[in-house]
Symmetry: C2
Subunit: 192 residues, 2 copies
């Protein structure tokens, strides 16, 4: 049941079978249907989510409109790290874009693991560093790139995302209206 | 020489004298005069800086203008974490605002310490988490707060900064022109 999780964690830290089994005593498997939320704005994010199958997306609601932050596929981790760390209510919504299976690890479990199995500190450090870089790149994209640059980078860096995610979510992620994305796509096809 | 550094690290991890002495074999003390840069944009940030005395500021240059990111006083750590982690050239400049003494810890030393003294993983994790929260709050301030709200929060959260830092740097940090900051200050004094 946790083979994929083990493979992903093994890339970061070497756990004995015993340590990994202990880790999984805290894990909870959850099935989400398409469009189901695993975190709703206003709630505190008390878990880290590991995507077993399917896809998660997080978004903000700004004046009734959804602003997509990021997509996460198989073997990716996600949490609203700000709420997770601070214990403050989240402003994010985290939703399954497809039928999705996730593994949830409570923050309290991670804190316990940091104490009892210090190897997990490395796991925590690398997660925090990754969260930092993700936020940095996202901020950079929004502040310094034109919508067309954003789209070209997405095609280059994450081509599979383009195939898998409906257009209007990609538009929302790039910070443009769906019609603008259509125009950008047309321009690129005409002048590749 | 490293007493203050030890105190600050002790708040995070329990090091034996031996472990701390080993840590300091990698440390380098550096004196900076007022306005001296310790990192210039285009360079890779290969050190974490601990402020022993004085004050550091980081800023970006945008079309010839300086945009101040943050100020760091005694016992604070700073690095351009993005450049530090990625090994890519920094876009930041890190400058002493007063005569300042810093302790520099090379990234290579930290990597060695993570391997040899695993306790440092916790240090690294907390640093990364702090960097994440700092970036999040900074982005939040710039995107969602009016200049007046920014200034009021600054007075509330870091009153000593207002006394110590020249006005034009505070204006640059808040993302407003010095004249606008004067107007904001006047309004606040009239309607406290």
């Amino acid at each position: 049941m946790y083979k994929q999780l083990r493979q992903q964690i093994n890339k970061i830290i070497d756990l004995t079978d015993e340590e990994f089994d202990y880790f999984t005593t805290f894990a909870k498997l959850k099935k989400l249907r398409r469009k189901e939320l695993v975190l709703t704005e206003g709630e505190v994010c008390r878990h880290a989510y590991f995507v077993k199958t399917g896809c998660l997306r997080y978004f903000y609601t700004v004046q009734g409109e959804q602003h997509t932050g990021q997509f996460f596929f198989e073997s990716a981790w996600y949490a609203d790290y700000e709420s997770f760390l601070s214990g403050q209510p989240s402003r994010q919504n985290i939703e399954a874009l497809e039928n999705t299976e996730i593994i949830m690890i409570p923050k309290t479990a991670l804190e316990k693991l940091y104490q009892e199995v210090p190897k997990f500190e490395k796991f925590g450090r690398l997660m925090a560093e990754k969260a930092f870089m993700g936020l940095r790149q996202r901020t950079e994209m929004i502040t310094n790139q034109s919508p067309e640059e954003r789209y070209l980078n997405l095609i280059k860096q994450r081509p599979k995302l383009i195939e898998r995610i409906p257009q209007h979510y990609i538009a929302s992620y790039l910070g443009v209206k769906p019609q603008s994305l259509s125009r950008i796509r047309k321009r690129i096809i005409q002048n590749p």
